[in-house]
């Protein structure tokens, strides 16, 4: 099957866990895959992008690079079973221009996680306090990798958290399967198997179970502690940090919770993170 399957998410929402699972599922080996050789790289890897483009994006302004994204995707989509990780919003949060080519896309798996937990995890990832993490999650103009000179990744427009979610799950014409991080934890085998079926991947019970064992949180963290994780930020003490749901209850102040709920209540309610009475679930 040709066309790209996107592994899409706001950062810290289960994407890397799924990539580790997928790497192990495809390899189907007796031993766990090396976390520093995970497949399904970020679409915004500058090296991959430049290679498909034939020019260097570092010579082009950001707007020109964004307009080239769909053309580069059409080149990458020619392969068989192509998966890419993506953190950018589906449509540009400010200009509204498409960031993804529907013609180059087969489907998307969209990973969503309670934004209250995302705030805690995102804060550790970017090495800033929780207030700063919330500020970014509430900022329509938020980007990843946008500052500090020439980065190995292209700048990725995120939008605020709700924009990000809606841009993917409500994108007209996009075949998308939404996966809640909390369900990945609670009903692991069932949720991962359904994702495999949706994406046309092997879904035999034992094969999925083995890949899950090789990509369990304990396994990922054990490898990270032993040899480090190349994809971690310097600010991450551990990239695979806690791997559970609900840690916001121990970390966030009522004011911080309110700032997230005020901004994202509607999308939180839609995905079961907010009860009918407005209580956080």
């Amino acid at each position: 099957m040709s066309g790209i399957v996107w592994l899409a998410s706001f950062p810290k929402s289960g994407n890397t866990w799924f990539r580790a699972f997928l790497t192990n599922l495809i390899a189907n080996k007796r031993d766990p895959a090396d976390i520093n050789a995970l497949n399904f790289v970020n679409f915004s890897s500058r090296q991959h992008f430049d290679e498909a483009l034939g020019w260097e994006t570092s010579d082009l302004p950001l707007e020109a690079v964004n307009r080239l994204r769909p053309h580069v995707q059409e080149v990458l989509a020619r392969g068989e079973n192509v998966f890419y990780k993506a953190h950018e919003a589906f449509t540009h949060p400010v200009s509204g221009e498409p960031m993804f080519s529907l013609g180059a896309t087969r489907a998307a798996l969209y990973f969503i996680r309670n934004p209250l937990d995302v705030a805690v995890s995102f804060s550790a990832h970017i090495g800033k306090d929780v207030d700063e993490a919330i500020k970014q999650m509430n900022n329509r103009k938020a980007h990843l990798a946008a500052s500090g000179g020439l980065r190995p990744q292209l700048a990725q427009p995120l939008g605020d958290w709700s924009w990000h979610v809606r841009s993917w799950v409500d994108a007209p014409g996009l075949r998308v399967h939404v996966i809640r991080y909390e369900d990945m934890l609670a009903r692991t085998q069932e949720v991962f198997t359904a994702a495999c079926r949706f994406a046309g991947l092997p879904d035999e019970t034992e094969r999925v179970a083995l890949a899950l064992e090789h990509s369990s949180f304990e396994q990922l963290q054990k490898q990270e502690k032993a040899k480090g994780f190349d994809e971690a930020n310097r600010s991450d003490k551990l990239f695979f940090r806690s791997g559970r749901a609900g840690s916001w209850r121990e970390v966030l102040s009522p004011g911080q919770v309110a700032r997230i709920v005020d901004c994202h209540g509607e999308v939180m309610r839609r995905f079961g993170y907010l009860g009918p009475d407005g209580s956080c679930l």
């Binding site: 500058r46 090296q47 430049d50 290679e51 498909a52 483009l53 034939g54 020019w55 260097e56 994006t57 570092s58 010579d59 082009l60 302004p61 020109a64 307009r67 080239l68 053309h71 580069v72 059409e74 080149v75 500090g148 000179g149 020439l150 980065r151 190995p152 480090g228 190349d230 994809e231 971690a232 930020n233 310097r234």
Partner: protein, 304 residues
Amino acid sequence: MPSDPPSNRYTVYGLTVETWIPFPELQPALPGAAVDAVFRLGEVPAELADCRHRGARFQAAPGRLLAWLDKIARYLAVDGREIIVQPEAGATESDLRLFLLCSPMGALLLQRGLLPLHASAVATPRGAAVFMGASGAGKSTLAASFHRRGFRVLADDISVVRFAPDGAPWVMPGLPQFKLWPDAVARLGSTADEPARLRPQVEKRAVPFWDRFHPEPLPLDHIVFLRPSRKSEIEVDRLSGIDRVPPLLRNTYRAQFLPGLGIAASCFESVSRLAKSVKVTRVSRPLDGEQDSMADRVAAEIGL
């Protein structure tokens, strides 16, 4: 006899090129040098009829590479002999030159059987040290810190390797200009003037180094393969034998053009030849690392 109109002739990567407009960033050619390649205006097709491989903004066919950028130009590199340029309305001469010296130039060098590496090269008492790596790996910044320490520089961004009749690899001089990001300019300390932007719409700066340009070829002594890393420490390991081949292939400048140009096999041969005869050290550079300690470490590794 009427004399020829004044021409623009320059020397770059060991070639004498004749151009349709002045290229002030290039070194003038010696009088009487035979012209190896011509850059000229002309009509460039929108498609290559016998295209074998197409990217988002290039098409490659045996002997020909078409590459284009919206609102700049279409370029056609033909048989290693000429680059034809069809500018788009409103494109500036400085953009036409800048982009010609990237992908079209890379294609022309590959077509001539040369081995261009994505690398900067500095002159050391032991020969040329070549800092190789992808965009963002830190090769220009590292070469610029060596320049600041008094070393002469052969090339930034593209370093061309040519084998002498005895089989030894030599590095050809390129053009005396660094392309640096403002953070790199700042980390290198103050220069006399604030360097000009490479293009008004991008942050990258053009920093010429005519003062310490090394305009002659040098034997290649050592390749330092730079990899950005998110770790906090610099990591170094010496690559041996077969392990040298993948990074050299991956960092051959515009290697993605090779299959379509039909010269992948001969380029692979050059890479294997180079891998047998040169030291290659892999250095993982912390993304936010301090520049001086990086230059110290690399200098120590290459025996300076």
